[in-house]
């Protein structure tokens, strides 16, 4: 309890204080944050870090195992896997984060409107969600991509929308349960505006499912994007997405050169793991009832 009782310092450096709390109370979450940051930095500075160009082929060095020269080996065209992974971080992490952010925004908006206002609005929104969810996602994705053409922004938009509408059901459930709390009633009876009730009371109290939703979505988006790339509807080759590498050359040369699948696979696992750990830690840190507990 000592951590909870100590008087909070003036919020001059709330961000730094939060970071210190994260490291001290949730070391796993701090590791998660570190992993995400490493991949983000790698993605952003891929141009500087990468020893070779992404499409720089070297027929002599085809399918070389990892070595001091090619850290993650080379693929069937003699392209350096390490460089491609770095650029892939750029694409996959950006797609993952932005599509998950978009999806979460859509889920939260739809879920709050539907759950809080209830009645006919809820009925209408939920039937639309039902209709959307009864359609196989992949079919929608393929149809839309064939209409608008493949590309990163299309993928972000479609995945964000699909996951967003599906996830709104979870947020709606959380809102319905939070709405019934007496403190919502108390705030309404005080004369507070609906906006205030929604933003100051409903939203903070559904942060736990929102964060879990977000962190699971990041991994899911990266994986679905790889599936799309495999079918040729994702970000078109030769762009180095992790999903594309995994399902393209990774799968074809799995027995001959396992590093082609292992390198993007492990990176994907690391990023998803990192984001999940960070999400869990944030969920606990943002809940005042969990203060001081591990």
């Amino acid at each position: 309890m000592s951590a909870a009782i100590e008087v909070a310092p003036v919020r001059r450096n709330a961000f730094l204080a939060g970071l210190i709390r994260l490291i001290r109370e949730k070391p796993l979450g701090a590791i998660g944050l570190a992993i995400v940051l490493v991949f983000l930095v790698c993605g952003i500075f891929a141009d500087v870090i990468a020893p070779y160009g992404i499409n720089q082929i070297s027929p002599v060095n085809r399918l070389k195992p990892p070595s001091a020269r090619f850290w993650f080996g080379t693929d069937h065209l003699g392209r350096d896997m390490f460089s491609r992974i770095l650029y892939g971080a750029q694409l996959s992490v950006i797609i993952g984060l932005s599509a998950a952010t978009l999806a979460t925004l859509i889920s939260v908006t739809l879920g709050i409107v539907s759950g809080y206002f209830g009645g006919r609005i809820d009925m209408l929104v939920q039937r639309v969600v039902d209709a959307w969810m009864s359609f196989p996602e992949l079919i929608i994705l393929i149809v839309v991509v064939s209409v608008v053409g493949p590309g990163m922004f299309q993928v972000i938009g479609i995945l964000g929308l699909t996951f967003g509408i599906g996830g709104s059901r979870i947020i709606r459930g959380a809102v319905v349960s939070v709405r019934e709390n007496m403190y919502i009633h108390a705030t309404q009876s005080m004369g507070a505006t609906t906006t205030r009730v929604l933003l100051r009371h409903i939203l903070p109290n559904i942060m736990a499912p929102v964060l879990v939703l977000f962190s699971t979505r990041v991994g899911a988006v990266i994986l679905v994007e790889s599936g799309l790339s495999f079918l040729g509807f994702g970000v078109p080759p030769p762009a180095p997405t992790w999903g594309g590498m995994l399902s393209g050359s990774g799968r074809t040369y799995m027995y001959l050169a396992p590093w082609l699948a292992l390198a993007p696979g492990l990176c994907l696992t690391c990023v998803v793991y990192g984001i999940n750990m960070l999400g869990d830690a944030l969920r606990d840190l943002l809940d005042p009832r969990m203060r001081g507990s591990r």
Partner: protein, 325 residues
């Protein structure tokens, strides 16, 4: 009594319709409150007692305008607030506050105590300056008997009595005129109950507050109320000054209710006469004709079964709804 009462409730009814079938046909209504009238003067405490389900809390919520009334009018400080729009109601929302039975549920667990007390000041623009708000929130904390540095903490770190004090501080932040206290002490330990009841009385003396105090505990009601209204199945059966009600209850239901209070002396308790009421409270969906209490009343006569008794003024402000009184 030339001055107008702060709150006048005139014949309000709150019915909850029951729908059935696919076309949502109304098949009936739960008459939770069915013709309740009373008034509360400035600086006074009106106690509202009755057993569970008799409509006490529903009455409180209707006065707060958190439930819509089926019929009747609610006047606050001379203004009819029964049908005011959301916007027109806002100034009254500040002046009428509610104290809840479960203060833990009524306070957002994600806000610090300081934020909780400051929130109404933001909503009603009472104190635009943030630092001044914080200062006032801390002042309010000490006013309700808590330490100022508790403003940094969260609600789960407090005991039941402390939480109720925080709930009171939050209500006081709006400088209200009327507090509707809905069973504010029934969830607390007996020793804490006394402290909170005393706090209510201190604050009333200090700020001239008016209370509509809803409870089922007759000892608490007796301690805090100036006048008391007894409810049974959605109606007021008797309303009187504290002494009159406890010394000469006129309505058989009030008599039975008071007789049910145990006397802390086994010898007297064993010999004193008991008025016992048999049976169950009838359903508010289909209340009995005539006097609502007649199926359980030991004194009921034929007239009680057909004619509904109205509240009649007996003497010095004691009103009873009974043919026999």
């Amino acid at each position: 009594m030339s001055e107008t009462p702060l709150l006048e409730v005139d014949n309000i009814k709150v019915h909850f319709p029951i729908y059935k079938g696919v076309i949502a046909r109304q098949v009936g209504a739960v008459k939770a409150v069915d013709g309740v009238s009373f008034s509360v003067n400035r600086g006074e405490t009106l106690g509202l007692v009755g057993e569970s389900g008799c409509g006490k809390s529903t009455t409180g919520l209707a006065v707060l305008r958190m439930l819509s009334t089926t019929a009747g009018t609610i006047r606050f400080d001379g203004t009819d607030i029964t049908h005011l729009s959301r916007a027109a109601l806002r100034p009254f929302r500040r002046r009428i506050q509610m104290i809840y039975q479960d203060p833990f549920g009524a306070l957002d667990p994600r806000m610090t105590v300081g934020q909780l007390i400051a929130e109404p000041m933001i909503v009603h623009n009472i104190e635009p300056n943030r630092a001044a708000r914080d200062t006032r929130a801390r002042d309010l904390l000490s006013m309700v008997g808590l330490r100022q540095d508790m403003a940094e903490r969260y609600i789960h770190e407090f005991s039941g009595g402390q939480r109720q004090r925080i709930g009171i501080a939050r209500a006081l932040a709006m400088q209200p005129d009327l507090l509707i206290c809905d069973e504010p002490v029934s969830a607390l330990d007996v020793s804490i109950q006394a402290q909170i009841v005393n706090l209510f009385q201190d604050l009333q003396a200090r700020f001239g507050l008016t209370y509509l105090f809803i409870a089922h505990d007759l000892a608490v009601i007796r301690h805090i109320s100036d006048r008391i209204a007894v409810m049974y199945l959605g109606r007021i059966v008797e309303i009187a000054g504290r002494e009159a009600l406890y010394d000469h209850p006129k309505h058989p239901y009030t008599q039975a209710l008071l007789a049910a209070v145990a006397i802390p002396d086994p010898d007297i308790e064993a010999t004193r006469p008991h008025i016992t009421v048999t049976g169950e409270v009838p359903s508010a969906l289909n209340p009995p004709p005539g006097c609502r209490f007649h199926p359980r009343c030991p004194l009921a006569i034929d007239r009680c079964r057909t004619e509904e008794p109205q509240l009649r003024d007996m003497s010095n402000g004691q009103s009873v709804a009974c043919h026999l009184a």
